[in-house]
């Protein structure tokens, strides 16, 4: 890249020859170039900073939680406070979480799917469908602690079947309210992806609304619906705020849904703020179990959605 020296006496051929030597890449003014490079570096640094917490959380949970993991954590009850080096576990918390999430699913999944069917199949795109969808969106944004307060007022403060107080039922009701809009909205999305000609075809063959929905539309959308339900379940399994004052906690196995019951998230919360090191350690092990449960469900359902959407 020799510098181009202007010479008025050169002829045209000369000019053409030397044109190859001209640096056509006109450099940007330094300010603009620095701004561009600087912003790129800044954005990359911020993006890396954004994923550090996730990896830190995963690393710490595996590091601190794995050592406490044994068969006993699934089968034993928590040891009494201050007792180190004894067999201890949180089987009752796993049981409680499973029971409450199951009861919540039993109500919210059918109700959510029926709501979605109304929105996607029967909705006359009018104000009714739009407002129902809007209200469900708002419901999904209500803080989970407010949902807990609702369940508290509804169940804990009232006498049900001769019992008044904290219960697994109250916790289930709270989780139900949290799951409902997630199931309904994601199922509606899944139903919308089923092509209309399939419905028309079913109708042309004499299928009525009921047959069309249950034999054609729902089977086609099954993968998407499952995804939505799994997401709702994984969200409910990790919820703490609505459980601490509805299901409360228990040191024992659950025997009745009208009793206070332990759950994994509440156990982690209680043991995290405990002054005893062995309870802190147990909180990490419980986090490992809960995180594996939640992340596996979540990642599986996401992969299923991606494949379905063909991305």
């Amino acid at each position: 890249m020799t510098a181009y020296n202007y010479d008025a006496n050169r002829d045209e051929a000369d000019l053409l020859d030397s044109a190859e030597d001209i640096d056509l890449e006109v450099p940007l003014p330094l300010v603009r170039r620095f701004f561009d490079r600087g912003m790129t570096v800044l954005a990359i640094v911020l993006a890396i900073a954004a994923i550090i917490p996730l990896f830190s959380v995963l690393k710490e949970i595996i590091q601190r939680g794995l050592s406490g993991l044994s068969i006993h954590v699934f089968t034993s009850l928590p040891a009494a406070v201050g007792e180190a080096n004894v067999i201890s576990g949180f089987g009752n918390a796993i049981q409680g979480t499973m029971v409450m999430v199951s009861i919540a699913s039993l109500v919210s999944i059918p109700l959510g799917i029926l709501t979605a069917i109304f929105l996607a199949e029967f909705g006359q795109a009018g104000w009714l469908t739009r407002s129902i969808r809007f209200i469900l969106t708002v419901l999904s944004g209500v803080p989970s602690i407010v949902v807990g307060v609702f369940a508290y007022a509804l169940i804990v403060l009232n006498t049900i079947a001769g019992y008044r107080g904290f219960s697994a039922l109250a916790g289930s009701v709270a989780l139900m309210v949290i799951m409902l809009p997630i199931v309904a909205l994601s199922t509606e999305e899944a139903l919308k992806l089923v092509p209309v000609p399939q419905r028309l075809g079913s109708s042309a063959l004499g299928g009525n609304r009921f047959d069309t929905t249950f034999r054609i539309v729902l089977p086609s959308a099954l993968a998407g619906i499952t995804t939505g339900c799994l997401l709702a379940v994984s969200r409910a399994a990790g919820e703490t705020a609505p459980l601490i004052f509805t299901a409360l906690f228990s040191q024992d196995w659950m025997t009745s849904i009208m009793d206070p019951v332990a759950s994994l998230p509440v156990l982690i919360y209680n043991y995290a703020s405990s002054p005893f090191a062995e309870q802190n350690a147990m909180a990490w092990t419980a986090s490992l179990v809960l995180l594996v449960l939640v992340l596996v469900t979540n990642i599986l359902s996401r992969i299923a959605t991606r494949k379905r959407a063909g991305r």
Partner: protein
């Protein structure tokens, strides 16, 4: 043109067609089945919707004794004395707003940076998709686990930083007190981590929806990448990004567990971010399990009602902003 392959567009189209044709059978043996089914799904939809109204009524009803006793003064009273049954919400409202603001201050720029990194062609595809996926995965971690990590990992790591802030900037009112570990600032940063996925994912969708010719035109005029981003991409996507920020705010206001675990729970109003504080949600979580006096429960219900209304307003605003953007179709 390429939009014809967008499944969401097809879905919209499909929906429009189905509206015009009523597929219900009008004759035959199974008319009753169809009618019954229609009624069943209709009732289910109404029941789902009723939950929100039922919740509002129940919470308002339970808060009523406290509303009658303390009235609007509750909002700016600073007392919280369970023994004397004196209750005021100001420290909680203050803490909720301050932590949410810190969270937004961090999550908005970082979220936009992540959205740009995952939508621009700066990075190869095999870096972009996993990056977007990883950030979204943060949303799946239960908040109590983030709180546990906050107590045992983040707070100790952040302690020297807080100390440095205090020693270097103690003339600034925000850093004017010696750090004690748990603080409003730590809670704000933890909140930022939790709302980041919302911010990043929605901003990314918004940026990806901007038509390619807009950016090509800007580049063709000689603008550099970042000049294009600042003068074309971000202004075009501004309303969508605003919607993302409002949605993130809604999440930050109501987030409970992680904040409760790291904020220190002290009933003071201090301008220093290095002091411990409290939030509405944290106080509800801490005191509800032990609340026995009806007026104490009422005051907590009143707090819940305030939080409910606050998040309701913010979420409704976010829904409207996002709907406005999608109906406008971003740049045609």
């Amino acid at each position: 043109m390429a939009k014809a392959f967008d499944p969401s567009l097809n879905a919209g189209l499909a929906n429009d067609i189905s509206l015009e044709i009523d597929l219900s059978s009008t004759e035959g043996e199974k008319v009753w089945l169809d009618k019954g089914f229609t009624i069943l799904v209709g009732l289910s939809a109404l029941a789902s919707v009723a939950v929100l109204f039922w919740m509002s009524v129940v919470v308002a009803q339970q808060a009523w004794p406290a509303i009658q006793k303390y009235g609007a003064q509750f909002l700016w009273s600073m007392d919280w004395d369970i023994g004397q049954l004196l209750f005021g919400a100001l420290p909680f409202i203050y803490g909720t707003i301050v932590t949410s603001m810190i969270a937004l201050l961090i999550a908005v720029p970082v979220g936009i940076a992540v959205a740009l990194m995952t939508s621009e062609n700066l990075l190869p595809e095999w870096v972009k998709s996993p990056l977007a996926f990883t950030v979204e995965l943060i949303a799946a971690i239960p908040s109590v686990i983030i709180g546990l990590w906050g107590i045992f990992v983040f707070t100790p790591v952040f302690e020297p930083v807080a100390m440095w802030l205090y020693q270097t900037f103690d003339w600034l009112i925000f850093f004017s007190t010696p750090p004690l570990g748990q603080s409003v600032l730590v809670a704000g940063i933890i909140l930022a981590i939790m709302v980041l996925p919302t911010m990043a994912a929605i901003s990314r969708e918004v940026l990806l929806a901007i038509p390619a010719p807009l950016r090509s035109a800007s580049m063709a005029l000689g603008a550099t990448r970042w000049e294009t981003i600042f003068r074309v991409m971000l202004p075009t996507g501004a309303s969508g990004i605003l919607g993302a920020a409002v949605l993130a705010l809604g999440r930050a206001l109501g987030e409970t567990m992680a904040v409760t675990m790291v904020i220190g729970n002290s009933l003071q109003i201090s301008p220093s971010l290095l002091d411990p504080g409290t939030t509405i949600a944290a106080n509800i979580a801490l005191q509800f399990p032990e609340a026995l006096d009806p007026l104490h429960i009422g005051a907590l219900m009143y707090l819940a009602l305030i939080l409910f209304v606050l998040t309701l307003v913010v979420n409704v605003a976010a829904v409207f902003i996002v709907q406005f953007v999608s109906s406008k179709g971003i740049g045609g």
